[in-house]
Amino acid sequence: MRHFQKKTARLFLVGAVLALLGLVSLNFSQEKRVTRNARSSRQNAAPPRVEKIRRPLKPTPATDRVLVRFRHGVSPQNAETILQAGQFGRIRQIPRIGVYRVQTPANLTLRETLLLLRANPDVEYAGPDYRTRIFTVPNDPFFADYQYNLQNRGGTLDVSPDIQPTLKAGADIKAIRAWDETKGDAAVIIAFMDTGVDMSHIELINKVVSTGRDFVNGDMDATDDNSHGTWVAGIAAAETNNGEGIAGVAWNCKVLPVKVIDAEGNGYYDELIEGLIWASDNGAKVINISAGGDADDPALKAACKYAFDKKVVLVAAAGNDGVSVSYPAAYDDYVLAVAATGTSDEHASFSSPGPQVDVAAPGVWVLGPVPQWYAGPGYLPYIFGSGTSAAAPHVAGLAALLLSVKPWLTPKQIMDVIRYTADDVNKAQLPGKDNDIGYGRINMERALVPYRLLR
């Protein structure tokens, strides 16, 4: 972290380059670009969403112990005599605040015990001993200060001396409680259709399942020669709780690199098509596509259908032109199209809108890993970047976590769970599903933590 301040100016430049890269990577075939303005209707909009506030979680008390405090003036000896006379076992005193923890008598329920104690005029307070639990917070050093996308505590994000965006507390994907439910299953593999992955990066070295496939150079080594793919893969599945760098969304899920974009950030549909089919045939359960083109192409659609039919969840960036959703994100039946939100849950201005947008995730100044050669000597191999390229891997990570705990769900069901559990963060302006952020910014907690059925 010592070099972090020094490098922020450079990070800004790199981030800007990455944002541009996202744009470039979308320009696969500009000559085939079709206008879809006529399709930008709201005919598929869901009924207005009704947000109701859920009741707070019910605290869980221990049934075999209670906490007691005696009134001022009751000596510790008297207090213990009273407790012993009541046959309360295993008395433990917390002396500084005059509280006793006592065992519930064998013949009494918790409620009866509390009633008995409260009936004693010397007792000031008798209450349940509520259970506590730890929240899973990773020990990755950049997590607390820089990964607002996973846990946003407000303040400002120190991207560089010139870039200090304001953070809105709670404008995150609610990862902490979700990680209590699952950290992912190593059997769930996320394939990344991108520029490859730096397989020697400390965040990914133990995460890649193989050297993948390079459809650009025609070999079996999908090493990243650009940095974009490493950044995207790290956001979804960086090694987490390893005391290094950042936390990923899906801690334990694995990475399958598939190189379909060249070192300059360009590629062709045929490479993407081949990559989708190869990944589907080689164990991927989720495919992240932080790339795309402007043309609707039946072969690309067929490749998406192929993957979908093989029970693979497809997640794609909506695009960064701010005009219309790119392909394959626009294939509504098979692909989750992901828009980008900012540090305060606002719709990112570059994020392409359209009726095909399903959900959104943070995509502005998201910290991710890059190859060391890209960061340069003396700098840590991480950068801040913006784009729907960063938003998509959050959703791919969530899909992988869902598949880790519910492997029987179909891709359509996984897509629906992610859609329906999203937070409609722009409901004040656009209630319900809209073209900017779809159903809303994803909410991992609502998608993964059991919903409490209350009276």
Partner: protein
């Protein structure tokens, strides 16, 4: 545990069978009427393990029932039971639905139906030994809970069912006349399920959780207290030990004999 349960049931069934074989030779120790009608409040608490759960949890149920006892012949009576139950399955988690559910909705109502058999086996002095069997089934009413806070509307519908079957000897002490204390040792089988359906937008799911009881043997202590010629008060408390704890049951009732 299954083998042990089967063993307990077999022993009790054998005892009952031998006892019933000798039934005609026995004399009724008291004048019995052909019909007895009563009401009863029962509470049970059973430690159970659910499908897929590693930690045991409690199922609690209260029931309000009407009971009709019919004397088939001296020393042999059947009992018909009908009423309502309130069953609490709090803490049950459904993880096989598209959106997992943590049931914390408290008691749900149900229709309770059952039957019982009581047969006098032995009588000696002030002591009397009967064989007592009972089967009770609670059919839960379907209940709907809206799912709130999601992008689309949805709800979940749940229905819990459970049954208790018990069989064992009861020894009564008739020395005190109108006050008759008794003790029962019975094999007690408790089973149940909770079916949950979920609809959320295009998502639908169904999950049925089945439970296994941790306790299989019940020791109950109770007493009948005759008030006047026709009314009898009954109170009973049961204990069901299992490895790691004790479950309980309680019952109070009022009977009228015709």
């Amino acid at each position: 545990m299954r083998k042990r349960t089967r063993g307990v049931f077999s022993a009790v069934a054998l005892t009952l069978a031998f006892g019933l074989a000798g039934l005609p030779a026995l004399q009724a120790s008291e004048s019995e009427s052909a019909f007895r009608t009563g009401i009863s409040f029962d509470r049970l608490s059973r430690t159970v393990t659910w499908d897929g759960a590693t930690v045991p949890s409690k199922v609690k149920a209260d029931s309000f029932t009407a009971r009709e006892t019919i004397l088939i012949k001296p020393g042999l009576a059947v009992e018909l039971i009908a009423g309502l139950s309130l069953s609490n399955f709090n803490g049950l988690v459904f993880r096989n639905l598209p959106v997992s559910l943590d049931y914390e909705a408290g008691a749900t109502a149900g229709l309770l139906l059952g039957c019982g058999l009581r047969a006098r086996l032995l009588g000696s002095g002030d002591f009397e030994i009967e064989g007592v069997g009972r089967f009770v089934y609670s059919l839960g009413f379907k209940k709907t809970w809206p799912l709130q806070g999601f992008a689309v509307e949805g709800d979940s519908q749940g229905r819990p069912n459970w049954l208790v079957a018990s069989l064992g000897p009861r020894i009564s002490y008739r020395f005190f006349g109108s006050f008759v204390p008794y003790a029962t040792i019975s094999a007690s089988f408790f089973s149940g399920s909770f079916a949950m359906d979920q609809t959320l937008g295009d998502l639908t799911g169904h999950e049925t959780k089945k439970l296994k009881s941790k306790s299989f043997l019940e020791v109950a202590l109770g007493a009948d207290y005759r008030v006047g010629k026709r009314w009898t008060l009954r109170a009973e408390a049961g204990f069901l030990p299992y490895s790691g704890g004790v479950d309980g049951s309680a019952s109070v009732g009022l009977l009228y004999r015709f």
